[in-house]
């Protein structure tokens, strides 16, 4: 365990620059692919690697690539999704800021595999200082002959541009991102047709997360079969985890998939344990959209087996007792955290970010925010808890894009595992008047507390 790929050179001085990155073996995959492989052979290696989309959904990248319409005469596009906005997730930003060439190299070989001659990196507008970093990297790659016309004499042409978003979580959804890149509001499109057939400007398009694209050069260098040996089962390779919340060492860590969650949480190599010597209360292991798990169910699944950092292990137990690896946004809460207040901030987030196209999401997220606000501030009623469950159910599955589900799951899971705490807010309104109520006196429930 503990193999490093994406961040193996993070501590090499000057790794941001082309020369140093190249000296460390960078751009080898571009030479290998363009000089010795066909585009289809590159797709085949990525399929063999078992790489799953690192943006959150975990869909196999190679399979996504194989859907692109190659019969069409239209130009094809690759868009890199750098709209990282899921609360708890900040890994793509880290990668782009500190090893920009890893993304550029990945973009070149991925565009080659898909036959794209123009590719875009759609970056969330707030990362304004990263723009010049990436643009400089693109210029350096161009000067070295890795971008532009007839790359390395292979006859393959590629132009790569960075495009700025302007502050909308929904633009991380691939069809909303395409709309946004066309200069419109970020309203997700109905599917089918899927972007692989009708995407940007009506042309075949693939949208991939930054981390997925940055993994491709490693897959080509070592071969898909070798990559598939890293990790565990169908969770192949390494994954960047963004750790935040009540831990000693928040930050971005690269793990080999399959690392025990307890080791990730407590080892000094990673999170360094829960801060201030407090007890662990709950963890949201994959970004704000995935179900929250109480400490006991996080460390061990319902059958009592230790959980691992993998797509399968974190999902073990389904929504009844499991969660998801998602985007790897690992949010830790100690015993002083109020589940209701945290959930209220998430509901406010989804209400703010709903594009407003589908009524269940536009209206439902607003009602969830309102009801959670009144429970948290001591004005709730007992029937509000079931009202929340009901609203969440009516949003889930009834919207064009998954933002509705993403808004509903945290509510449903928080009530499933922490219903007592919601009831406490309603029964003792005077005790929750102070926003820091559980810092003053942590909520005690034998069920949800274990030693960290």
């Amino acid at each position: 365990m503990g193999r490093k790929l994406l961040l193996k050179d993070i501590n090499v001085p000057g790794i941001k620059s082309f020369e140093v990155y190249r000296k460390q073996g960078g751009y080898a995959s571009v030479e290998k692919a363009l000089k010795t492989m066909s585009p289809d052979a590159v797709v085949e290696e990525v399929k063999k690697s078992g790489l799953r989309g690192r943006g959150g959904a975990g869909f196999p990248t190679g399979m996504k690539w194989s859907f692109i319409d190659k019969k069409s005469e239209k130009p094809r596009y690759l868009i890199c999704n750098a709209d990282e906005s899921e609360p708890g997730t900040f890994k793509d930003r880290f990668l782009m800021e500190y090893i920009p060439h890893a993304l550029i190299e990945g973009m070149i070989v991925s565009s080659f595999a898909l036959g794209a001659k123009t590719s875009y990196i759609y970056m969330r507008g707030e990362f304004r200082w990263i723009f010049p970093i990436l643009e400089k990297a693109i210029e350096e790659a161009r000067a070295a002959g890795f971008l532009g016309k007839n790359i390395l004499g292979s006859g393959y042409d590629l132009e790569l541009y960075v495009h700025s978003g302007a502050g909308a979580y929904i633009c991380g959804e691939e069809t909303a991102q395409i709309e946004s890149l066309e200069g419109k509001r970020g309203n997700p499109r109905n599917k089918p047709p899927f972007p692989a057939i009708v995407g940007l400007y009506g042309c075949p398009t693939v949208v991939n997360n930054v981390e997925s694209i940055a993994a491709v050069p490693h897959i080509l260098n070592m071969g898909g079969d070798e990559y598939a040996k890293i990790g565990i089962g169908k969770s192949t390779g390494t994954k960047l985890i963004s750790a935040s919340g009540h831990i000693n060492k928040p930050g971005v860590y690269e793990i080999e998939l399959g690392l025990p969650v307890e080791e990730f949480l407590n080892s000094d190599e990673y999170c360094g344990g829960v801060w201030k010597g407090r007890k662990l209360k709950a963890v949201i292991p994959g970004g704000s959209s995935v179900p929250i798990l109480p400490a006991d169910l996080f460390l061990k699944n319902a059958k009592g087996e230790a959980r691992l950092m993998s797509y399968e292990s974190l999902a073990d137990g389904g929504f009844a007792s499991g969660s998801m690896l998602g985007s790897g946004g690992f949010i830790v809460m100690d015993e002083t955290a109020c589940i209701v207040r945290n959930l209220w901030t998430f509901a406010r987030f989804y209400h703010h970010e709903s594009c407003g196209q589908c009524s269940p999401c536009r209206e439902g997220t607003g009602w969830m925010e309102k009801v959670l606000h009144r429970i948290e501030h001591g004005h709730g009623h007992m029937h509000d808890i079931d009202l929340l469950v009901d609203v969440a159910k009516k949003i889930e599955g009834n919207t064009i894009c998954p933002l509705g589900d993403a808004a509903a799951w945290p509510v449903a899971s928080a009530i499933r595992h922490f219903r007592e705490e919601f009831e406490y807010h309603i029964k003792y309104p005077e005790k929750v008047m102070n926003p820091k109520h559980f810092e003053i006196e942590p909520f005690r429930s034998e069920k949800n507390l274990v030693m960290a």
């Binding site: 130009p75 990282e84 906005s85 899921e86 609360p87 708890g88 997730t89 900040f90 793509d92 930003r93 123009t118 970056m123 969330r124 507008g125 707030e126 990362f127 304004r128 200082w129 723009f131 010049p132 541009y161 960075v162 495009h163 700025s164 978003g165 302007a166 502050g167 909308a168 979580y169 946004s180 890149l181 066309e182 200069g183 419109k184 509001r185 970020g186 400007y201 963004s242 750790a243 935040s244 919340g245 009540h246 928040p250 930050g251 971005v252 704000s288 946004g329 949010i331 809460m333 955290a337 207040r341 945290n342 901030t345 998430f346 406010r348 987030f349 703010h352 970010e353 594009c355 926003p435």
Partner: protein
Amino acid sequence: MSLVQKIIKRYPEGRHKSALLPILHVAQAEFGGWLSPETMDYVASILNIKPIEVYEVASFYSMYNLQPVGKCVLEVCQTGPCWLRGSDDIIQYISNKLGIQPGETSADGMFTLKVVECLASCGSAPMMQVGNNFIENLSVEKMDDVLKKLRETHNVPSPDYGSPYPVNKA
């Protein structure tokens, strides 16, 4: 070639509307940190699109300010991971110190306080964005210093509002 023309060239022939979001960033940075109806109409004329196409986009994205702002815009993140590390205290402190609520501008026109949703800085929470920069690992104790420094750097006739694209400040 002007910056705007360079940006338009990044998109295929006839797809110049794709340059709308980038050009709005440039316009906002050049015209005092916000988009007035006149500014938006001007952008529409540059791209040869209808003004409504600009308004509907500008009102959708949270980075575009549709009201005038102070010389320095403080965008404090308030979502879960920042809240867990004390963002409520930071917002409260700024609000009390400057005598403004979120969304308001201080009487001297220096600061605008905005509360925003997750800025992908959860590992260095609490934090806020000012122009091109993230100011991270904030604490109430540090805030006086932070505000004092910002007052120095932004109290100029043409303060830098930040833009992903290089805007030449006169």
